[in-house]
């Protein structure tokens, strides 16, 4: 009986992958487009999770990095005809360079200076996009030409884009797992939980936190590139400062230490404003603010945290493990 909970996550993962791959067969085109956008956000949220949940740092510039990736992709593809895969790689690399330039001064210090600096960056990036209009197209933005699909691919463009986004998310999940279950993940958590002890044990605070920040920026850059590909069009009004805060909300609501949480958070931030705006434009902001405060006060690990503790309770009620006394549940 006690084997059951261990099989469950694998079963759930397998079902989720199967559903994701089969989705284009049943989902109509526009919804598939929305889901693709949601997947790009999930990638950016996943990057922020790595930083927030495991390195204990707040970045408010994830939307700015997203914009950076989107513009790098759009410029490379539309001006220079670079193939999409190479352009995505460049989007990630350029974004990492921007992230390191901004993050290095802030991450040398033990406090939360990164939040201050990235808050400024989030406000500045839309201004930069408008200012350098000879590169970015200014307010009008950049429109991408409809890509030519390979001959063997016998499905519409939405499906093609969807699979790109899905592949991007899968790649980022694999990278996240490699980071978290390796040495670097252990160093990250040690730093988050007790920086003093961790440093005494020879973990370089600046280096580890900076690399976590770089990985999260790379995810956001890749996500931005995919977004430009899916949307076929980039302009500054898609990347206002609020975008960065929305990605933060996605991370918090889904649960900052959870990978499925990133997808749940992305679903929340992509689909929730759609229906609240039909009621009142200020409702989304109010709901967002309350979500942040209430999640921190009552459910620190977000939706996935709540689900997990409920599932734990159900499993324990159904079949109390015989060794419950020797192995008390770790504190949340």
């Amino acid at each position: 009986m006690s084997r059951l909970p261990r099989v469950l996550p694998w079963l759930a993962t397998g079902l989720a992958v199967a559903a994701a791959v089969a989705a284009p067969l049943i989902v109509p085109g526009f919804l598939l487009f929305q889901i693709s956008v949601m997947l790009t956000y999930a990638i950016a949220v996943l990057g922020l999770n790595l930083l927030l949940g495991h390195a204990g740092q707040v970045s408010l510039a994830q939307g700015a990095f997203f914009a950076c990736g989107a513009y790098v992709f759009a410029i490379l593809v539309s001006r220079f005809g670079v193939p999409p895969a190479a352009a995505l790689l460049c989007a990630a690399v350029v974004t990492v360079a921007l992230g390191v330039a901004v993050g290095l001064p802030a991450l040398r210090l033990p406090g939360l200076q990164l939040a201050i600096v990235t808050f400024g960056l989030a406000a500045l990036v839309p201004q930069i996009l408008i200012k350098f209009d000879h590169v970015t197209g200014g307010e009008a933005g950049i429109r991408l030409r409809r890509p030519v699909l390979p001959g063997w691919f016998a499905a519409p463009l939405e499906t093609w884009n969807y699979y790109w986004c899905l592949a991007g998310l899968a790649l980022c999940i694999v990278i996240t797992l490699r980071v978290l279950f390796g040495d670097s993940g252990r160093s990250l958590r040690a730093l988050r939980d007790n920086p003093l002890v961790a440093e005494t044990l020879g973990i370089d605070l600046t280096r580890v936190r900076l690399s976590a920040f770089a990985v999260s920026a790379a995810f956001a850059g890749l996500a931005g590139g995919l977004f430009a590909m899916v949307n076929g069009f980039v302009n500054p009004s898609s990347f206002e400062a609020t975008k960065s805060i929305e990605i933060l909300i996605g991370a918090i609501v889904g649960g900052v230490t959870s990978i499925p949480g990133a997808v749940i958070g992305a679903i929340f931030i992509v689909f929730m404003p759609d229906w609240t705006s039909q009621i009142d434009i200020s409702l989304a902001g109010l709901l967002y603010g309350l979500c942040l405060i209430l999640t921190m006060l009552f459910a620190r690990n977000g939706v996935t945290g709540v689900v997990r503790s409920l599932a734990d309770r159900v499993v324990r009620m159904a079949a109390p493990p015989p060794d419950a006394r020797q192995n008390p549940a770790p504190p949340a």
Binding site: L60, I116, F119, A123, G289, I293, L297
Partner: protein, 293 residues
Amino acid sequence: MALLIQHVIEGITTGGIYGSLALALVLIYRSTGIINFGQGEMATFVTFVAWQLHEWGFHPALALSAGVLLAAVLGVVVFRVAVRPLMGASGETIVVVTIGLMLAFQAASLWIWGADQRLFFQIIPNRSWTVAGITVTLHAVGVGVAVVALAVLLSAFFRFTRLGLAMRAAAAEREKSPLVGIRVETMLLLGWGLASVIGFMAAVLVAPKLFLSPTMMVPLLLYSLAAATLGGWDSPLGAVVGGIVVGVTESLGATYLSFLGAELRLAIPIVITLAVLLVRPAGLFGKTTVVRA
């Protein structure tokens, strides 16, 4: 030359306002170690209430006093409800909560009063003097006097009164202060109330210039964060001086670095913040704390 002096004076005026919001941020940081990203939006909300009272026909002085009272109560309530339960939690948790405060108060103002820009009533009459080609407005003088008075009063309060001493003690030694009979929680509540009132003051000073709108304080917060970083997060005097330096830099930068234009003005506080973090992370007046491992 006259132009230069003119821009310096303008910079000092806006810088004084940045300084006063930075002062509110620093007060909270000193007592609770929190950067309150919601400070500006809380102040905007209270300013809207004061504006509404004035619209309903209350005397400006009455509307402002009501605002001060409301600001104090709001600061205390927000601390008690949203921040106090998380005092033991990690820094990033509390930053997220203050960002939640920012969004919630902005949305509340938007919901009640809409996105229109409102003309906020002038507290300081529109007068100016011109001497040797340099114009000084009464507003500039008023802001200068108000901010300097605030900084002096606060410093005196912390230095010479028993309550000020108790608040400093509560901030410095949260565990040991109760042993000498200081109610730490009350002191923290007072600190949040006081910061909220100072934030309201900054909003009232800036509202006639920027027009009142739910997002009025967002750019101001950016400048104030730079001011507090430059001054050093544990120094009230540093916050005001930092604010003035940021204000003058902004005014001169926008004039003489013409390639910045209106769009890249926001880059100035960010560059200042990065430069301070690189060169002197503790800020001009901040103390470098040494931790014994």
